[in-house]
């Protein structure tokens, strides 16, 4: 019931938030509906947490649910308080909806796994989740940049010209987010290394595909930041690169992370 309510609310809020790019007055409705859906999903997560006796993040479906919840929560924050970034909800909410609907399909086949998070494992999963959210935000800001830049380049100002923040502002914000995301990601890698090295299990190796892919991700973001700092990369190319890099993160979590 709660899952259905939140999914329907996210769908309705997504449509309204996108529509609000054209008719800002719809944003108020989007906000209220999203708030309702978010509360419903929060309640559902609390109940799931009670079932697994801790944070429900140990399985991919449960983790995706938390990710969708975080993205929707952030969209709610920007729509309620982020004056210049209010339109970001129109970009973030469809992502939250897609994540949540994919997840509902996965959840139907999954069984709850008892959560036993503590110490470095908690830091590892917490910082990795936060890093993914921040990388996603950076990619979304990058997407917003490319859309507004496209309108300006084609000299056909329509929607994004009016609704989105200044290009330079978005460019700087996306770089800042990428830097924060990288720090969190490195923290997650370090914590993961501590988890594995302190584990007595012989089946877990420090050098597996997941670890390698995590290092590639970190390297890619570090290269992006270095290119900005030393190669003068800005604007559209940097934004497109950020969106591409997020695909690296997504691949990591959806495929390699499950190996």
């Amino acid at each position: 019931m709660l899952k259905g309510v939140s999914l329907a609310a996210y769908l309705a809020a997504s449509i309204l938030a996108v529509w609000a790019l054209y008719r800002p007055q719809c944003g108020i409705w989007a906000r209220w509906i999203l708030a309702g859906g978010w509360v419903a999903q929060s309640w559902w997560l609390v109940r799931l947490g009670e079932q697994v006796d801790g944070l429900p993040v140990l399985t991919l479906p449960a983790w995706l649910a938390v990710l969708a919840w975080l993205v929707a929560g952030f969209a709610l924050l920007t729509m309620a308080y982020g004056r210049r970034y209010r339109s970001m909800g129109g970009f973030l909410l469809p992502v939250a909806f897609v994540l949540w609907s994919i997840d509902l399909g996965l959840l139907s086949r999954a069984r709850p796994t008892m959560s036993n998070l503590h110490g470095w494992l908690l830091v590892h999963i917490g910082s990795a989740t936060a890093a993914v959210v921040v990388f996603l935000l950076a990619a979304v800001v990058g997407l917003m940049y490319t859309e507004k830049e496209r309108e300006l380049r084609h000299k056909s100002v329509e929607v994004f010209y009016y609704r989105l923040p200044a290009l330079q502002e978005m460019d700087r914000l996306s770089a800042l987010l990428a830097a924060i995301g990288l720090l969190l990601w490195l923290l997650a890698i370090g914590a993961g290394w501590m988890v594995v090295s302190s584990s007595r299990s012989t089946t877990v190796s420090l050098f597996n595909v997941t670890a390698l892919w995590a290092l590639i991700t970190a390297g890619a973001y570090a290269t992006y930041l270095a290119m900005r700092q030393f190669g003068g990369w800005r604007g559209r190319r940097a934004a497109v690169l950020l969106m591409t890099l997020f695909m690296v993160v997504a691949v990591n979590f959806m495929t390699i992370g499950r190996l």
Binding site: K148, E149, L152, V157, E158, L167, Q168, G232, W233, A238
Partner: protein, 435 residues
Amino acid sequence: MRIQVAGMNHVTAPLAVRERAAFAPDRMAAASQALLSTTAADGVVILSTCNRTEVYVDGNCTLGEILTWWQEWTDFERTEHADALYWYQGDEAVRHLFRVSAGLDSVILGETEILGQVKHAYQAAGALGTCSGPLHRTLQRALKAGKRVRTETGIGQNALSVGHVAVELAERVFGSLRGLTVVVIGAGQVAELVTRHLHDAGVGRIAVVNRTLAHAARLAERVSGSAGTLDRLPDWLATADVVVSAITSESALITRAMAERTFGGDQHRLRFLFDLSVPRSVAPDVSRAGHEVFVYDLDDIEAVVARNRRQRVHEGQYAERIVTEEVERLQEDLGSLQVGPIIQRLNDRAEAIRAQEMARALAKLAPLDVHQHEVLEQATRLIIKKLLNDPVTSLRHWARVGDQGRIDMVQELFALPSEAQSAAARVKIPAESPR
């Protein structure tokens, strides 16, 4: 509603007529007092701006009387300029005022100056004592409607002139203009206008480059900028985030080759070039000199102006809705104001009957304790309240829709005393005490 407005604006009257019909500021007070003393008007507010002269009148005053008075106090000829006039009464007059406050009736849709002018007219009438109660409420609500339109819609946003659009585009690309370097090429009227807008918008550094250094220096001095000549144009361009070119030139001053040489070191830097010259002084392919170089010529800027105008018209639809909402709210306010005393008399009459019958009943009963007395009081009051609920609701509704006939009927039906009788009766009702 007895409010009416007679007036003329930029649509109905040319400037030659408007200036004759305008009230001189120093005669406004005497004119307002004269209207109140010579007609049955209870209140008057004169709104006189360069685009309109409007007289808002409350009371039983005819249009003929208003026009005669207007003719006496200005050079306005009622027979000659009758076609330039409009006259609205009641809700139409209120709606007109609200639209004016919201900037929906202005030359530039959504302009903000008019709200201040309406406020000034209201304050002036308030200071003179010519603003009646209904006019007070109407003007207050009109100002509220104007503010709501500005905060809840984007009608006042988006520039409508080439100079302002240049600034707006720069802001939408760079955000804050404080840290930017702007190079203005030319020192003519257009260059000066845009430079002034950019300076007002807070641009950090402005450099004026011109063929004649003296002209450039004169303009640069006004905006605390620096000046230079065209022979060092590439050097100036290398430092620029925004370039405004408004200079007469037979061929392009900024070519792609020059831009590539100049911008080559920093290919990814955002640069915006506005070419306001005819013929164009920036080659169109300069936009390919870097990854983030934008070139906007006059046509492109005009297209943005047109789009902004459409955007304002679109926002105007929401503004009209707000105006309608506020008119309805005012109708409710004024309705309650009108029937408030009648409802009070109705309640007083019912209370008098209740108190009388209570006293009679209590005299027949054995002495009651405080609690029993209180219960009886509450029960009888509740009966009265419930009985009167529907008539009161209907009264408020009839006041809203202006159905005076039914309001009078209610007064007759309940044989309500006049206000004075009611006040006297209220004094006579003895305070009851539990026995």
